[in-house]
Amino acid sequence: MSELVGLLFSIALVNNLVLTSLVGLDLQVSASQRINTAWLVGLTTLYCLSLCLPGVYLLDRLVIIPMQLQYLDLLFYMMLIMVIVYASQKLLQIVFPLVYLQVKTIVPVVLLNSILLAAVLLSQDQHQSFFGSLVTGICVGMGFLFLLLTLSCLRERIDNSNVPAPFRGLPILLITLGIFSMGFMGLSGL
């Protein structure tokens, strides 16, 4: 149990993929304009990540490693991510049509987001078990959601404050993200 909590802290906060590897920044910037969108995008990413990582683990153990196809792994991963996300979207359409209507336009954006592939590669590098990859997926998603929500709250404050003219818009946002990243680095001593 303590191992799981440690994993959650280390992946979601200390080694937050967005801040350390700079993946998924486009979504962080574009989706944090309003807090409702931030919730929706963050939860969709969490959902996709928690489905994709175990799926990729299974593909890895059943096909890639026994047949020594490591040179094709990136292609396989990307295709499998697409299949899993589209299948879960279809399932959502049947089970919760109202939720599907809200998520419909977001899923392609999340799907083309580099954080999915980055999380998959992170999990494969660490040679995790099936359960471990599931937990990693959820933790990466929670870290992403946490950062997105914090950033959207901060943006609300930035919008209401008097920013110097050269920094207005994207520059102040990127500076904020940089300061964020430094702040999260300080957590690595935990």
């Binding site: 096909v63 047949m67 196809l69 295709m79 299948a87 979207q89 209507l101």
Partner: protein
């Protein structure tokens, strides 16, 4: 070695076919246009009271839900049976009895203003989507029973809580 290549090919073909089967229809401009036209046509049939009785935020969201087959066509209380018939003719869905918000009330209900408490603030008149309340500032207001759809939108704005719902005759 050859077996591994064959398995790689089979996996790639399988994944490609799955992507093709599962991928949702792309939102091309012509697709969006046809869907927008469909929504417009459905919206024109709705009574435009914007009361929100169907569970959506207004008539346009409800029309979108009908086009996407998320909601049934029998949820529009102000429209009544007539709207259900015209929607059914347009969409090809079968006619169903009117959906009721709760099972507590069998009969449709309308608003009644208790006139001795009314202070004439006009707030319910601005809230009413079908202009079924008559009155003027500092004058007593009254509901025209024939026009009231029972959407309950006038209850919340009333500062003295003098509006209640009663069964329609």
């Amino acid at each position: 070695m050859s077996i591994s290549i064959i398995i790689a090919l089979v996996t790639i073909i399988f994944l490609t076919v799955m992507i093709g089967l599962l991928m949702p229809e792309p939102d091309t401009i012509s697709n969006q246009q046809t869907q927008r036209n469909e929504i417009d046509e459905i919206e024109r049939l709705l009574p435009q009271t914007q009361c929100g009785d169907c569970g959506f935020n207004g008539c346009r969201p409800y029309a979108e839900a009908i086009v996407n087959r998320v909601a049934d066509i029998n949820r529009c209380l102000p429209g009544g049976v007539e709207t259900i018939r015209s929607l059914s003719a347009k969409t090809g869905l079968e006619v169903k009895p009117l959906y009721k918000k709760t099972n507590k009330y069998d009969k449709p209900r309308i608003a009644l203003i208790h006139e001795e408490h009314c202070i004439g603030c006009v707030k319910c008149i601005t809230a009413c989507p079908v202009d079924a309340i008559v009155g003027a500032p500092k004058q007593m207001h009254s509901v025209i029973n024939a026009y009231c759809t029972g959407c309950e939108l006038c209850i919340a704005p009333c500062p003295v809580d003098c509006i209640s719902m009663v069964p329609a005759q």
